[in-house]
């Protein structure tokens, strides 16, 4: 029994129909309980007052915005090396989720920045690199949409994803060099000293888990959709020929 068995679309669909309800349930549970915990039962912070509650949306979505791209990178590599269709379709299915996560991170950041920094937007390195990440997502999706042959599209988007990853990292360092930041340091890290206080930390962890499960559920579901669409197209093509 190996992981690669699930590269078979039929097996993948069978597995995903079994685990999907669990993931949807866990996502809903974690998101609802984490957000309610954070919104109703955590104190206001000294400096930020009630805006500290935005952290429960901002940090998880920002994490996911990056992690979704990493997942797409891994899926693209698997497609290029082992040519499992499910992998390519999973990368395709994940991209719009990444876009939404990036948008949420940007929006909540802007809404938080307005009262705290006195501006909706600043050309801070972190903000700028997220905007650039957003552009990369748009280009990736546009390339998928533009090419008709699914295998060609999968190959080209995978190459773009690899090259894009390198340039995204480069851009990150370039903007760091280019402008000094307003942005807070990491709110979560292995270094305990830097972390936010425990009152905020635990509900934040629950929210992050919620975002992760939501992402897993969405990607599995959307991959299934792509597999079905592809099979429909193949069957239709066979009908036309017959």
């Amino acid at each position: 029994m190996s992981l690669w068995e699930y590269a078979n679309p039929v097996r993948f669909l069978a597995l995903s129909s079994r685990v999907l309800p669990v993931f949807w349930g866990l996502a809903a549970l974690c998101l609802v309980s984490g957000l309610i915990w954070g919104f109703f039962f955590t104190p206001n912070a000294d400096k930020f007052e009630s805006t500290v509650k935005i952290i429960y949306l901002h940090v998880p979505s920002a994490m996911m915005a990056i992690n979704v791209w990493v997942m797409m990178l891994v899926a693209s590599l698997i497609w290029l090396v082992r040519r499992h269709h499910v992998s390519a379709l999973a990368a395709k299915a994940a991209a719009p989720v990444g876009v939404v996560m990036t948008l949420i991170a940007l929006f909540t950041g802007a809404i938080w920045g307005q009262p705290m920094w006195g501006t909706w937007w600043a050309w801070d390195p972190r903000l700028t690199s997220f905007l650039i990440l957003f552009l990369f997502y748009l280009g990736y999706i546009a390339l998928w949409e533009a090419i008709e042959d699914p295998d060609t599209a999968a190959d080209l988007t995978s190459v773009l994803c690899l090259v894009g990853s390198v340039f995204a990292v480069l851009s990150r360092y370039a903007v760091n060099f280019w402008n000094q930041g307003l942005h807070q340091g990491a709110s979560l890290s292995l270094d305990k000293e830097e972390n936010v206080a425990d009152v905020y930390y635990f509900p934040l962890l629950v929210c992050i888990a919620g975002f992760v499960f939501l992402f897993l559920a969405l990607v599995l579901y959307r991959t299934g959709t792509e597999i079905r669409l592809r099979r429909t197209r193949a069957l239709q093509a066979r009908e036309v020929r017959a």
């Binding site: 533009a146 340039f167 480069l170 370039a174 060099f177």
Partner: protein, 218 residues
Amino acid sequence: MKALLIRDLTLAFRAGGGFGLGLAFFLIVTVLVPFGVGPHSALLSQIAPGILWLGALLACLLSLDRLLALDWEDGTLDLLATSPLPLEAALSVKALAHWLTTGLPLVLAAPVLGILLALPAPGFFWLVVSLALGTPALSVIGTFGAALTVGVKRGGLLMSLLVLPLYVPTLIFGAEAARRGATGMDPATPLLMLAGITAGTIAIMPFASAAALRVNLR
């Protein structure tokens, strides 16, 4: 390889080859900027390095869709793919030809346009140096974009969307070097970074471009 380079260059210089279009575009953008932001030379001299870099970048971008599209249409690319010359090398040569016909003229024209935008005197040298170091990277990255979208009909807009984010590091370091040069600061650090990016892209991007083109030629 030499034959391919000479062929690309003569095609570009011939009527309808598009040589000079990029230059003309660069000129027009530079002329339009004062209309947009006002004629005050204090403001113009402050933004001149950035505007000139941006203009050069856009001029480069505009000439990219001719880079492979014509050869794709008449089947030259298929011939190149089956020739003994590796596709990576062929694409490097094509990028070089693109730089010689687009990037190099832009570098040479930039000081003249700098006068129009009241670029401070110490800025001219560093502007030319930064453009000379940076534009090869623009051509090589652009070749990758062209190889990705060569099979797409009317792919020009799509290519801009794909290529422009890839231009971000080059633009940041290039414009930063030019700006530092113009304001009398030391431009060495961004210039070195820029040179690093150019060297890295020249070394690696032809492989990515060739991979993309092979998929499109399949």
